[in-house]
């Protein structure tokens, strides 16, 4: 005798979802909201990463020489820096090179600026060996000393900025994890109640099934599938809404801010759909199990 018939379990689960329509909708809505919030945070973190990458060359510090520094002074400064601990190499960018770069980026406003009007100074781009915080801080300290001696006009340490953004990302992650935990607990609670209602509405039927000799798994599988279906529906809907809102609102809103890069949703679409469905289905199954655990133990 065959005892596993997927179609039977699926039909029973669908019937039960229909019978408790309001609670089903509530469960899908809450879990979907939870997934949308998860998606929102994930997109925020992902975009922070993308922008951090754009800073690129995070292991670099730029120092700007004094405007009136002579060729000898700049060469000597470069040599001094090269001898500092944790320095891999030092590349000099003359003020002429820097002006050309600047003109390329701001062709409309400064395209006709001449070398006589050049407001820039020479710079030295330092690449450091180790990203160890202490070593970078020591290098920064040494550079600050050179600055106080009047050899350097300005230090631009991208590491500090990157570190700040990275710290912000970690804060967002922490908030995200707490939000995730709270929302998942709420979702599981709602699903537990939906499945409990389904169990109550089928109490007589279940009683008869037990007397006739149905196994516990045969009785409980439709309820587990019910939880899975709630999770699946919530996952698919959350994905569609997140995609729609991201592409129509977020991308358009940030397109005006040229200094911020917004990631293309298509690049992360497969991860999102799989992630949403997986979280949805697992939450649904966990909710079902919690409501059934008392029953399974009797």
């Amino acid at each position: 005798m065959k005892s596993f018939r997927p179609l039977y379990f699926l039909i029973e689960a669908l019937k039960s979802l229909k019978r408790n329509g309001v609670m089903t909708l509530a469960s899908v809505a809450v879990l979907m909201s939870c997934l949308i919030v998860i998606g929102g945070f994930s997109l925020l973190v992902y975009n922070i990463d993308v922008n951090l990458e754009q800073f690129g060359e995070m292991n670099k510090i730029a120092v700007f020489c004094e405007f009136d520094a002579s060729e000898d002074e700049i060469t000597s400064l470069q040599k001094t820096i090269e001898e500092l601990d944790n320095v891999k190499d030092v590349v000099r960018h003359t003020k002429e090179e820097r002006l050309e770069e600047f003109k390329k980026d701001h062709v409309d406003a400064y395209g006709d600026i001449t070398s006589e009007e050049n407001p820039l100074s020479d710079s030295l781009e330092i690449t450091y060996k180790s990203t160890d915080t202490k070593k970078i801080e020591n290098l920064s300290y040494e550079l600050e000393k050179l600055k106080s001696e009047g050899q350097i006009r300005k230090i631009s340490n991208r590491y500090t900025l990157s570190k700040k953004i990275d710290n912000f990302k970690h804060t967002v992650m922490m908030i995200f994890i707490w939000f995730l935990a709270i929302l998942l607990v709420v979702s599981v609670f709602i699903i537990v109640n939906t499945i409990k209602l389904a169990l109550i509405s089928r109490k007589n039927e279940i009683g008869i099934m037990r007397y006739i000799g149905a196994t516990k798994w045969f009785i409980t599988l439709p309820f587990i599938i019910e939880g899975m279906l709630i999770g699946l529906a919530a996952g698919v809907l959350a994905f569609l809404i997140t995609k729609l809102v991201y592409n129509t609102v977020v991308v358009r809103a940030f397109n005006v801010a040229t200094f911020i890069s917004i990631a293309d949703f298509a690049r992360i679409e497969p991860t999102f759909i799989v992630g949403f469905i997986l979280i949805g289905v697992v939450t649904g199954v966990v909710g079902s199990f919690i409501s059934l655990v008392k029953y399974l133990n009797t």
Binding site: M1, K2, S3, I208, I212, G213, K216, F218
Partner: protein
Amino acid sequence: MIDFKNVVMEYPNGNVALKGINLHIDDGEFVFIVGQSGAGKTTLTKLLLCEEKASNGHIIVGNYDLSRIPNYKIPHYRRKLGMVFQDFRLLPNKTVYENVAFAMQIVGTPARKIRRRVPAILNTVNLSDKHNSFPDEISGGEQQRVALARALANNPDVIVADEPTGNIDPEMSLEIMNLLLKINKLGKTVIVVTHEKELVDYYQQRVVMIKEGVIVEDRVGGMFE
């Protein structure tokens, strides 16, 4: 074969419902279990159904020792029993046919076999013409016949009927009893738990009388005294 050996049943509240029951029922027997309310008949039925476990003693049904049966084996054991209740316990949203077929579906019987067997069982209980009716469209006696058909669906070895005539009129009661006898003639062991004196006396079968948790009489062709 059903064997109760020194079965004691004490509920957690201290109520001792059965006080050392010894009872042997052979395959193919027809037995009335009788007694007043509170005598211990329902507890005996619950023990047979594995709804409760005896506090002491052994209950053997076929190859199963109910005092040692693990939980996962209970559904398989119950498939050897056909249960008929006083309140029919039919599913109101299913037709007569579906109620009987349901019993077979949940133990995983293939659809083809269900289509073949259900009409035959409905014919046995004289309900062929009602297969499309819902429980609330048929009489109490007919509902009990559906319950009987459902109990027979998985071809059990034993039929346990708990007050099967309690909710139906006397004429229908006789019909149900005649059906149970007919089923017994087919080789099934039939246990009827009842407190209806007239029926027991009319059929002259083996009668086991319980009083205050003790078997006070066990006689073939007995009367309800």
